[in-house]
Assembly symmetry: D2
């Protein structure tokens, strides 16, 4: 596994936040199992509110496992995190703990973020509530702080959605995602998230064109799914991700597999 | 791949609905790429509304790829589907097409459901809007119409959530899911959906105790993730799923790997 | 005040439900006052969910004071009410009590509904939680069970919205509403609710064309606001209200002040 | 009517934003009237999202007529307004126009804000979409920029909610509100909004203790509703409103009718 040591002299770094619902597992079955569709509603609406709050401050959040969500939060400070926590507590029947870490390599930032939450108590402890711990990106933002790669599947509609039944389409997308997420994490310490349709968005360190090409080749060989990718950088996830989307449009137009903004 | 022919004489059958957002891909990049967190919000809130509407009529819906959602809709008739479609159109900037199929084997029901939507036009056609086609479960509901299996990971909190960083926990859960979804589909024509945390819910045909045990063993060998499962049946997904949740609680209490309600 | 005695032989009747948040006042200031915009969000989303749940079963719900909402629920039985209560409890940090009453005259039905909730405990008692009490419309639905009047202001956009500042527009609409709600309640036992824009929807007993004309004249004289109204009947609020909307369109087209569907 | 001229030398001022849904009236009846409960859901969810977005930046927004909402937005700049507009357009089937004005007296600020939107086109013009016009509070924020008065009804639960049917409780609250809103606007150029329960929140200029006492006496005489009020000031509505809530708690504790933070 890749675990690059951050260069102490570097000033470019991603800020990662772990959002973990407090004591959620026990809550879902107390006093007896709750209706599954109510849980699905609660989870997806909590995520939607996170997406709005974090998103309109320039950040990105991914649903991950829903009871644990991962966010790239460059641009959000401690006060922003406190307010998010307070607002969730005022409007939902559950509370969230937040851990924050900063590192050039996203997995290392998330490692720190997770440790902070774990140190405050178990995910299934009734004693822990609304913990907030971690370090925030203190320096000046730079255009190189965040790198976002936006992958999608080549002609997913023509090859899958319009031809196969939806579950078999989904299996293909899912196997491609499972392969990509593992490869990118092991090779680059990058965090790849399925975001719906045939799209995967990854928070990456500074990865080269050839390395992205290798990732795509790996998935094509491993899961028989043909990806392409647009890559962007910026001082916030939104800036980097927006550039990545435009780069992906370039792939579509040019017929290429890897484009940098 | 398993494709059991439905016995024409059988009266027990699941009703599957494919929900597909009309022309969503092009919409997300017109006139230029839309903010990703707005798309995430839109998708998860649309799913949440589906979960409420379908769920409080006894059905289950899964987010799948968000632009395509799969629902088990025993108990919902044509009028219920029309009203869902109308209400979405009144409140969201997108519309949905719905296809419905009925079969003892979920994948076969979904095959029919998908074909009905595909026949109405491409997922990326601007001509198709709010198509609704398919067959509905016309007979008397029986306690054997729907089989739901609720899987979770043994001690996921102790082994993963409280020990690893969140992404590595997620990779483990995800690899286990990718293995299970493929196995259950190929062996049994079952549809397995990750529903958050360490939980997977599957719409299954009438699968035996030994077959569930084989599925769990397969995932343990293939992805090194130890699952357990509770299984329930009923005339609606909620009834079957609620029984399955209780059976899963029995696994927890008894230390067993497979329990039927 | 008008309090018609219901004819014991009548079978046409509205079913009214009072939705009251349990112990909400104290909750909003415990342990200290909660952020007002979080309370506003919570209240309006709870109402939105009520509107979906009750609305897609043919009912109408009005936000009234938000901590107390009034619904016309012909078509929803006890089980529907229980499920609504359960689902709110699963997804919000507050619970609701429900009282139900049935009567030809809406205010009398609401009187019964309110008494049932009051009998279960104070609105600010921490002992009362999720009370559900009342009687349900047991007979066959008839096309005459529910009468809905949909009022709006003649040329509100031209006279107010496009000419005055928004608060002065609002004052005009509001004074008209305050006058109408009082008159219709006192003269007819009808319940009138502002529903946004320049619209007021009233749940009424069987009121005549001349009586509606008198109400409009009263408001014109009392508050100098010129209303018009469309009236419809049906077995559910949606049916009656939809007919009323069409009748109001007829007013617009014909230049009349009162139209029945 | 009171229309104080702003002192050009003053630096304390409220920033008011008018949010107006574009061409909403026609949309609600095209191609035929839309289901009322879908409109109610759409309106209240749009308001909820405004409350979150504006609220977690320190502002206040009031639902007013839902198709027109009034916000106090000190602390939100042009970019914040643009992003709000973009996000609504990405997630709802309607768009909003925004007008902004700044003045010591709220009604004058709203007058400017409204004129800006009106100048861009009629509320029912299909040509106007997402207009954004106005002036923003450019100076340093001061603790005296925003004055918020939080009124409630003395013992509303004991006198109304636990004793009368809900509609008669509502009539009392509503008549009190109609009286207060008119008085405060005419005497002080203040904007008073019902916010649920028995609460009214007013954006005010710098009004004295005696003036608040006169307002309360006026409503007691005019509508027979006994109010009390807490008043706060701050650089943002949240700060001012939070102080007002605490002052209102003081009224409760001390048995007084007017308290300043």
């Amino acid at each position: 596994m890749c675990r690059r040591s951050p260069d102490p002299g570097t000033v470019t770094a991603a800020q990662l936040t772990l959002v973990q619902i407090d004591n959620y597992g026990p809550w879902t079955v107390t006093p007896e199992p709750r209706r599954e569709m109510d849980l699905q509603t609660l989870q997806s609406r909590l995520f939607a509110d996170m997406a709005q709050y974090i998103g309109n401050r320039g950040g990105y959040v991914f649903f991950t496992r829903f009871d644990n969500m991962v966010a790239v939060t460059n641009g959000l400070d401690r006060r922003d995190h406190e307010l998010l926590q307070e607002s969730v507590g005022n409007r939902f029947p559950v509370t969230v703990s937040l851990g924050v870490g900063v590192d050039e390599v996203p997995i290392d930032a998330l490692e720190t973020a997770t440790e902070r939450v774990q140190a405050a108590g178990s995910a299934q402890s009734s004693d822990r509530s609304e913990a907030l711990a971690g370090e925030f990106h203190g320096g000046e933002p730079t255009d190189d702080d965040v790198h976002i790669a936006h992958f999608d599947v080549n002609d997913a509609t023509g090859k899958y959605t319009d031809r196969l039944n939806e579950f078999d389409s989904f299996i293909n997308i899912e196997q491609g995602y499972a392969s990509l997420m593992k490869y990118m994490r092991e090779e680059h310490g990058a965090l790849s998230f399925f975001v719906g349709g045939d799209n995967v968005i990854a928070a990456c360190p500074d990865v080269s064109h050839d390395d992205y090409r290798n990732a795509i080749d790996h998935v094509a060989g491993d899961a028989e799914v043909q990806l392409k990718v647009g890559v962007g950088s910026g001082s916030t996830p939104h800036e980097a991700g927006f550039a990545a989307k435009h780069a992906l449009e370039d792939c579509r137009y040019e017929g290429t597999l890897v484009e940098f903004a």
